[in-house]
């Protein structure tokens, strides 16, 4: 049992820091923060990371992964978060790519993986439907065979960033005769195909990230089917575990905690810094202690994964605790803002962090819902870890 960094680890950390200092510059920061330039800035950011060879550390080396040790992944995530640099968008790199390189054919790998690495295509995830959320397998969007194509009809909902997307990976029903998990297929669909309509949904954070995606006789070549027809559920399930570990966000929470502590040092109450208020200290350190524990829980999962094991039901624990911590931090940031908590204006009224507090708090409510709700995660742990039926 040992978690000290070796000399190579320390050298790697320096390399990461040097890279971030150069690649994540002020101009890019500004463009990422601006709605109008966000998309191209996010793409450019990924390209800079990809040029360094670090866009997809978790992929197998033959497709462009880094073969990092658990320690290196840990270092990279921490340094990236500490620098405030955004994560790569998960839809291509962490969600669809593992399905493509695990279950796709050679042609699909060659066609899609390099473009995903370089963010040449923007991907979105078309799983949920109005009637199929937690009970995803009950999905109804159907794909019928027509010669060399499928014809897709139906609607997906809560599709994050579909308004930017070039491609959508979808679960569709190809057979409804048997068990609902059977008869689902995994399709890659070009968003420019005629018959696709994207309707925006405005969130409680007053932003547009969510969408409804309608499919009206959308023609999709059979070549875009992943693996076997009717076997999509197995592929999707393998992918969900990846999504869950990605949601834990330990490094980002560490950064957020440090930021809140710093802000509370400037915010006054009764003429003294809020950071020296005992109740504030309790609130902050309650979260900090949970986070310290989760950091090591994640390291334990990472170490296990590095030795070849797949992320299993443990990923549910990371998701539940990680999102609970994120939400506790969002609440704390809002509380620190005092009278300015809940401010909703683009005008400068003298509190630069309060508007962010509101947006983060509101968007953050979704973290316990998406990626399989926390209740569903608890069901998974109860069943597969504790053996409760």
């Amino acid at each position: 049992m040992d978690t000290t960094f070796s000399a190579e680890d320390l050298a790697f950390r320096d390399e990461v820091r040097a890279f971030l200092t150069e690649a994540y510059d002020d101009d890019l920061k500004a463009r990422l923060a601006d709605k109008a330039t966000y998309k191209e800035a996010q793409i450019e950011w990924q390209r800079r990371v990809n040029a360094k060879g670090w866009a997809a550390p978790g992929w197998p080396a033959e497709y462009g992964g880094c073969s990092w040790s658990a320690t290196q992944s840990f270092i990279y995530e921490n340094e990236r978060s500490a620098a405030g640099a955004p994560d790569m968008l998960p839809f291509g790199l962490k969600m669809v790519a593992p399905v493509i390189y695990t279950f796709g054919n050679d042609e699909q790998k060659q066609r899609f993986l390099p473009r995903i690495l370089n963010s040449d295509d923007w991907w979105c995830q078309g799983y949920s439907e109005p009637g199929a959320g937690s009970d995803l397998a009950s999905l109804k969007t159907r794909a019928e065979v027509d010669g060399d194509d499928y014809i897709v009809n139906g609607a997906k909902i809560w599709t994050s960033y579909a308004q930017y997307a070039d491609w959508i990976f979808c679960l569709v029903r190809t057979d409804s005769s048997g068990k609902k998990q059977d008869g689902i297929s995994f399709l890659l669909i070009d968003m420019k195909t005629p018959g696709i309509k994207v309707n925006p949904i405005i969130g409680i954070d007053n932003r547009h990230t969510l969408n409804e995606v309608e499919f009206n006789n959308v023609r999709v070549p059979k070549a875009n089917l992943i693996g076997e027809q009717d076997k999509g559920w197995t592929y999707a399930k393998a992918l969900l575990a990846h999504e869950r570990t990605a949601i834990a966000g330990v490094a980002a929470s560490k950064k957020e905690l440090a930021e809140i502590r710093e802000i509370a040092g400037r915010e006054l109450s009764g003429g003294i810094a809020l950071s020296s208020d005992p109740l504030f200290q309790k609130n902050l350190t309650d979260i900090e202690i949970e986070l310290m524990a989760l950091e090591y829980t994640e390291l334990r999962v990472l170490a296990k994964a590095a030795s070849g094991a797949h992320p299993g039901p443990e990923s549910s624990l990371l998701k539940i605790k990680g999102t609970e911590i994120q939400q506790a931090l969002q609440k704390l940031r809002l509380d620190v803002a005092g009278h300015y908590a809940g401010i909703q204006t683009e005008e400068a009224v003298g509190n630069e962090y309060a508007d962010k507090a509101r947006v983060d708090y509101m968007y953050g409510r979704a973290a316990t819902v998406y990626g399989g709700s926390n209740e569903v995660q608890k069901n998974i742990i109860a069943k597969f870890v504790l053996g409760l039926k």
Binding site: I202, I204, L210, L334, E347, E375
Partner: protein, 375 residues
């Protein structure tokens, strides 16, 4: 002992409930929220016509002579409809201070009751957080009057108010309890600059800059240097009022959530049939009931001894913050994705509940004051 309303109170409650039902559904509310002033002048007129604006004022000032329970009833029903019209700012806060003022100031009460005067109470400052005694705004004696300099932030109804009551320091240092005075200031007076903006609950607020604003000694509300006690007493009343509003909102969220889980099906059954969710809705229910109990407790003790009344109000405020958070969180969570949309009313109710937590001191702040008063 009983917790029943009088016949008159039941009539008032019904009349507000009917207004909300007939004229303030969610769609109508969204239209009001989109108005530049942040409320509807027509609705305000209706409030005046129905006599609601007169409720807390004494009969000698032309008011209805209502008590804390009357205001509570009204606020609870307004809460259920997420009503944006500035009853709290103009009637409870501004009007409450006018009532405590000199005869010259009380004469404005008639205009408030009539609906022709909007008011705001400007007390919070950038550095003050929730401490009412932290007043950096200066009122320097100037001939017969005073000259005001300073800045007030997040002033409810501050952008549209015709008149403001402003706290300022007439003696002592920034954190002293003594030496704070209140002044009635015309919102369009020379030297008053207002920057209006929105909060997430749709309320229109303002930051107000005071630069060499001249007032006379006739504009002093209450005694010189003794403003803090006045502020505390009116804020205490206002806390009970928003506590009632919060109870209305919490009940509404709880009912909406229970209803939703009865109709939303996943895995072939209503999600409300999952015990994991049932228990959480039971927690919501208990949170609502406990908050209502503290609301009644605070309402009943308003005429009792001051220290007890203060503790009851603070206990209510703590509960509104903590139980309100639980109810809001669960309402979001149990609605799943649909709860995250601006189109559904749930988020709007939660946001107002969150803003009520911050008003007059959040749960943590109020709990610390509560502990200090434990003696």
């Amino acid at each position: 002992m009983n917790f029943d309303y009088t016949e008159e109170q039941n009539m008032l409650k019904d009349s507000v409930a009917r207004f909300v039902q007939d004229q303030y559904d969610f769609e109508a509310r969204c239209k009001v929220a989109a108005l530049e002033e942040g409320y509807s002048a027509d609705n305000w007129k209706t409030f005046a016509e129905l006599g609601w604006l007169s409720i807390p004022f004494a009969e000698e000032h032309g008011g209805f002579g209502g008590n804390v329970v009357d205001t509570m009833l009204l606020m609870e029903e307004l809460g259920k409809g997420l009503v944006l019209e500035p009853f709290l700012a103009t009637v409870v806060l501004f009007g409450g201070l006018l009532s405590r003022g000199a005869a010259d100031q009380q004469q404005y009460i008639g205009s408030v009751i009539e609906g022709s005067l909007q008011g705001a109470f400007a007390y919070a400052e950038r550095q003050s957080r929730f401490n009412l005694n932290d007043v950096a705004t200066q009122a320097i004696a100037n001939g017969d009057g005073y000259r005001l300099n300073g800045e007030k932030i997040v002033v409810l109804n501050g952008a549209v108010a015709d008149k403001l009551i402003v706290s300022a320091r007439t003696s002592g240092s920034q954190l002293d309890s003594a030496g704070i005075s209140l002044f009635l200031v015309d919102a369009n007076a020379k030297g008053v600059a207002r920057q209006g903006y929105r909060m997430m609950d749709g309320q229109k607020v303002a930051n107000i800059l005071l630069q060499d604003v001249e007032v006379t000694s006739a504009d002093l509300v209450g005694e010189l240097d003794q403003g803090l006690a006045l502020m505390q007493s009116v804020i205490s009343e206002a806390t009970v009022a928003v506590g009632a509003e919060a109870v209305g909102i919490m009940d509404k969220l709880q009912a909406t959530t229970v209803e939703y889980t009865k109709t939303r099906e996943q895995f072939g059954v209503a999600i409300g049939s999952f015990q994991a969710l049932q228990h959480r809705m039971v927690e919501m229910f208990m949170a609502c009931e406990q908050t209502r109990s503290l609301l009644y407790r605070a309402a009943c003790s308003q005429s009792a001894d001051q220290a007890q009344a203060d503790r009851d109000v603070l206990a209510l405020k703590v509960m509104v913050g903590r139980a309100g958070k639980l109810v809001g969180d669960e309402a979001f969570q149990l609605h799943g994705g649909i709860g995250m949309t601006d189109e559904l009313d749930v988020g709007h109710y939660v946001k107002r509940l969150m803003m009520i937590n911050t008003l007059f001191g959040d749960a943590d702040f109020s709990q610390q004051r509560f502990a200090e008063l434990a003696g």
